[in-house]
């Protein structure tokens, strides 16, 4: 079942939430809508669910125009950000709610609920009530409930953001496993880039209700289509560079350009892992701070000419590359992206 968003526009008062969003989600694909808050990702999802109606534009599910179909007649299962289980029903009745609405016989409801609870790893929890479950368990039940009707599309609205970091990672892997197993077309809304990159087949990066880029995770990370994507996904250094022909000169190195440059004086965009730091008494800067993250250490290097560079080095080098050490900074030889000149050598931390 494919889902197609065609030229969706939606504003709330003076705020534009969707500004001509067009996107096709393929059969069996897990697509992540990623962007800062207010970028329209949740509004887009709610248009698919039927909780919002676009001002103009259309939503197609499986080729059929559902723009004017009310939410209760769309074939889309949804998991919400906040815990949405019915507090007065036990887990089994929660999962079987949709079947009950459709007046299926009790035996079928029981069997289906048991089967789904088994699927999400909560077999034997049927008799419990939502308030007796942890946040992660509640979201598993919500997932089972959304899947009970075998919907054409699964809609996940930041389903993990209310959970602890560890539960979050476990559950997102489980969601991905289930999604692959069932082959269900899925839209996963998140503001967490790591989440988006780790589970999705494709990531759609949104900004101000428009699509900035839609591509597989590796491509979004390595070849961001716009400076916004480059800065929102991962961490990006902005280094002053000078373009000449097909190359750009930065830190005395000449690197090939990736795509067209916006001018002569530009910002060269470099990921921290593409920056090499070596101890050198007459280097161009010194280590200002170091934060150890296990497999890597992120160094903040103060440049003599002003500005800072972030660099990721292997974790075992963290002891040798201690704050205060005079170092030299070089860039890995590979094509680089450029953006209009903004600041002098200032790294940009991701928004989320």
């Amino acid at each position: 079942m494919t889902v197609e968003l065609r030229e969706l526009h939606r504003s709330f008062g003076g705020t534009v939430a969707l500004d001509g969003l067009s996107l096709t989600i393929e059969q069996g694909e897990l697509i992540a809508f990623l962007g800062p808050s207010g970028c329209g990702k949740t509004t887009a999802l709610r248009c698919v669910a039927g909780f919002e109606r676009p001002d103009t534009g259309a939503v197609f599910i499986d080729g059929a125009d559902v723009t004017r179909v009310p939410a209760n007649r769309r074939d889309a299962g949804m998991v919400f950000q906040s815990y949405s289980l019915f507090p007065n029903l036990n887990v089994r009745d929660n999962v079987a709610f949709g079947l009950r609405v459709r007046r299926r016989p009790a035996s079928e409801r029981h069997d289906r609920a048991a089967e789904l609870l088994e699927l999400v790893g909560l077999g034997g929890f049927g008799e419990r009530y939502p308030h007796q479950l942890s946040g992660g368990q509640q979201q598993r039940v919500a997932l089972a409930r959304a899947l009970a009707l075998q919907p054409k599309v699964l809609l996940l609205d930041e389903p993990l953001s209310a959970l602890d970091a560890k539960v979050r990672v476990n559950l997102r892997e489980e969601i991905r496993r289930l999604q692959l197993e069932l082959g269900i077309t899925t839209i996963f809304v998140t503001h967490d880039q790591e989440e988006a990159l780790s589970v999705a087949d494709r990531v759609a990066v949104l900004k101000s209700g428009r699509l900035e880029q839609v591509a597989p995770p590796a491509e979004v990370y390595d070849r961001p289509a716009t400076p916004f994507v480059a800065e929102f996904v991962g961490t990006m250094n902005h280094l002053p560079g000078r373009v000449s022909g097909e190359t750009v000169e930065v830190f005395g190195q000449t690197l090939p350009l990736d795509g067209a440059a916006p001018g002569v004086e530009v910002d060269v965009l470099v990921r921290p892992e593409a920056v090499r730091v070596t101890p050198s008494a007459d280097g161009r800067g010194f280590i200002l701070a170091s934060s150890f993250r296990g497999s890597i250490a992120r160094l903040r290097v103060q440049l003599d000419g002003g500005g800072e560079v972030l660099a990721d080095v292997p974790g075992h080098e963290a002891v040798r590359l201690a704050p205060g050490l005079k170092v030299d900074v070089t860039l890995v030889e590979r094509p680089v992206l450029t953006a209009p000149r903004t600041a002098v050598a200032a790294p940009v931390e991701p928004v989320a």
Binding site: A71, G98, V101
Partner: protein, 264 residues
């Protein structure tokens, strides 16, 4: 330790304040200097003309008020909460109005409207409607007036209940699973609002069982009106009636709040 003492003292003073007059009242109804101990006053109530009739009438009015006030307030509250949160202060103000306007004003207004309406509608089929809502056996016009009086209490009780649940998410989850709007209201929202609905119902009922001004001035013999009429010349009977109606309302309260708690 000081806290416990303080709590007990406060509780004791409050208990004395409420229980002593109550105990004296009960004693007064069952003890007579000339006759000694007797339950005669209570016997006289049950056998007094109009007891069952007026009590039943008030209970029926109460039931009608509860149904109507819930049907009116709950969808309105939900609609405002889900569709137009900006209108909440407006709704809040409107539902406080019945508390501010004195009941006597309602009586004058309603009586004038009914009189004027009867004249104006005399030649139309609506005349019959106007007459039938004033039926002595079941005065619909009183139900309408009481709904207005009960609105502030029902609104506040329901509003507190709705605040405790994430209505929007529950509604959307149910809609997403195929539930129609009536299904959402009766099978999702109401079960999660049981104690709030019970509270609203009880307050409405208590209001109907205790309202005198409007009913008396409009000439309807509801239970409170009957109490006043019947007890005029029999001191013991009138106090026995107060004790009885207190006990009755208390019993209803326990039943309703019990029904509200069962769901938890």
């Amino acid at each position: 330790m000081a806290g416990v003492t303080w709590r007990r003292l406060t509780l004791g003073v409050a208990a004395v304040y409420f229980l002593v007059p109550l105990a004296i009242a009960v004693w007064f109804t069952v003890y007579n200097e000339s006759l000694g101990f007797s339950l005669g006053a209570y016997g006289r109530i049950v056998s007094a003309p109009g007891f069952g009739e007026s009590l039943l009438k008030s209970l029926l009015l109460g039931a009608a008020v509860i149904v109507l006030v819930l049907l009116l307030a709950l969808p309105a509250l939900l609609a405002v909460r889900l569709g137009a949160p900006g209108l909440r202060p407006v709704l809040e103000t409107i539902t406080t109005l019945p508390l501010i306007v004195p009941p006597i004003t309602y009586v004058v207004g309603i009586a004038n409207a009914l009189r004027g309406g009867t004249d104006a509608l005399a030649a139309t089929p609506f005349w019959q409607t106007l007459i039938s809502i004033q039926d002595e056996n079941f005065p619909v016009v009183l139900v309408l007036a009481y709904v207005m009086l009960a609105l502030p209490f029902a609104y506040r009780s329901l509003d507190t209940g709705l605040r405790a649940v994430d209505v929007r998410t529950l509604v959307e989850a149910a809609r997403n699973l195929g539930a129609s709007w009536p299904y959402v209201l009766f099978r999702v929202i109401l079960p999660n609002l049981r104690s709030a609905v019970a509270g609203a119902s009880f307050l409405s009922l208590a209001l109907v069982m205790g309202e005198y001004t409007i009913a008396a001035l409009m000439g309807y013999r509801t239970f409170p009106v009957w109490i006043v009429t019947i007890s005029g010349n029999d001191g013991q009977l009138s106090v026995a009636l107060s004790v009885l109606s207190l006990g009755l309302i208390w019993l209803l309260l326990l039943t309703l709040s019990g029904a509200g708690r069962k769901s938890k």
